[in-house]
C-alpha cells in the first residue's frame, strides 16, 4: 500500500508542476485561471490523500473548504473577465 501511495503522490506532483508552468507562462488571463482551477482540484485530492497517510480526519474538512473557496474564486475571476463585475 505504501508503494501505491508513493506512485500516486509522484503523479500528482508532476501534474502540479506542469499546471504551475502553464500558470506562469500562459498568454492570457483565461489560461492562468484554467491552470489555477486544475491546481485547486489536484490540491484537494492531495490533501485527502495526506489525510489518509497521517490518519487525521480533520484534514478532510480542510479539503472541503479549499474546494469551496477555489470554486468561488474561479467564478469571481470569470465574471470579472466577462465584464459583469
Amino acid at each position: 500500500m505504501t508503494i501505491i501511495i508513493y506512485i500516486a503522490l509522484s503523479f500528482m506532483v508532476l501534474g502540479f508542476v506542469l499546471s504551475a508552468i502553464r500558470f506562469v507562462k500562459g498568454p492570457t488571463a483565461g489560461d492562468r485561471t484554467v491552470a489555477l482551477d486544475t491546481i485547486t482540484t489536484i490540491a484537494v485530492a492531495a490533501i485527502i490523500l495526506l489525510a489518509y497517510i497521517f490518519q487525521r480526519f480533520v484534514y478532510v474538512d480542510v479539503a472541503l473548504l479549499y474546494a469551496v473557496l477555489g470554486f468561488i474564486g474561479v467564478i469571481v475571476i470569470a465574471r470579472y473577465l466577462e465584464g459583469a463585475l
Binding site: 508532476l14 499546471s19 482540484t41 485527502i48 470554486f71 467564478i75 465574471r79 466577462e82 465584464g83
Partner: protein
C-alpha cells in the same frame, strides 16, 4: 490485503493518472478551449476516483468523501462553463485549423464575430 484495499489502491492509481493527464493537457494544448476541455473533464474524473479510493481504504470516512465527490461533480463544470463564456465574450475565438471557419463556430450565429481582433 483485503478486497477493500485492492479496490481502493486501484482507484487511487487510476485517479492520480487521470490528474496527471489533465495537467499534461493543460500544458500541451494549443488553445484555451482545448485547455478547458482537457483540464476540467480529466481532473474531475481523476479527483472523484481518487477520493472514492480513499473512501474505500477507510470506510468510516465514506460519507464525507461522497459529499466532496458531489461538490466536485457540480462545481467543476460550472466554473469551466463560466470561463469559456467569459473568454468568448472577450473575443478570444477558438483556434480552428480548417477552411470552413464560419460554419464550425456554431455560437457565431448568436453572437457574431467582429472584424477587429482585440488583444487581452
Amino acid at each position: 490485503m483485503s478486497i477493500m484495499e485492492i479496490i481502493g489502491g486501484a482507484l487511487i492509481i487510476i485517479g492520480s493518472a487521470f490528474l496527471f493527464l489533465g495537467a499534461l493537457g493543460i500544458f500541451r494544448m494549443p488553445d484555451i478551449y482545448n485547455r478547458l476541455q482537457a483540464g476540467t473533464k480529466a481532473t474531475t474524473l481523476g479527483g472523484m476516483s481518487l477520493i472514492l479510493g480513499v473512501g474505500f481504504l477507510e470506510p468510516s470516512w465514506m460519507m464525507k468523501m461522497i459529499i466532496i465527490i458531489i461538490f466536485i461533480a457540480y462545481s467543476n463544470p460550472i466554473s469551466s462553463h463560466a470561463l469559456a463564456r467569459a473568454m468568448y465574450k472577450r473575443k478570444r475565438y477558438p483556434l480552428i485549423l480548417s477552411e470552413d471557419k464560419e460554419n464550425m463556430d456554431a455560437y457565431a450565429e448568436v453572437n457574431p464575430h467582429e472584424k477587429e481582433e482585440v488583444k487581452s
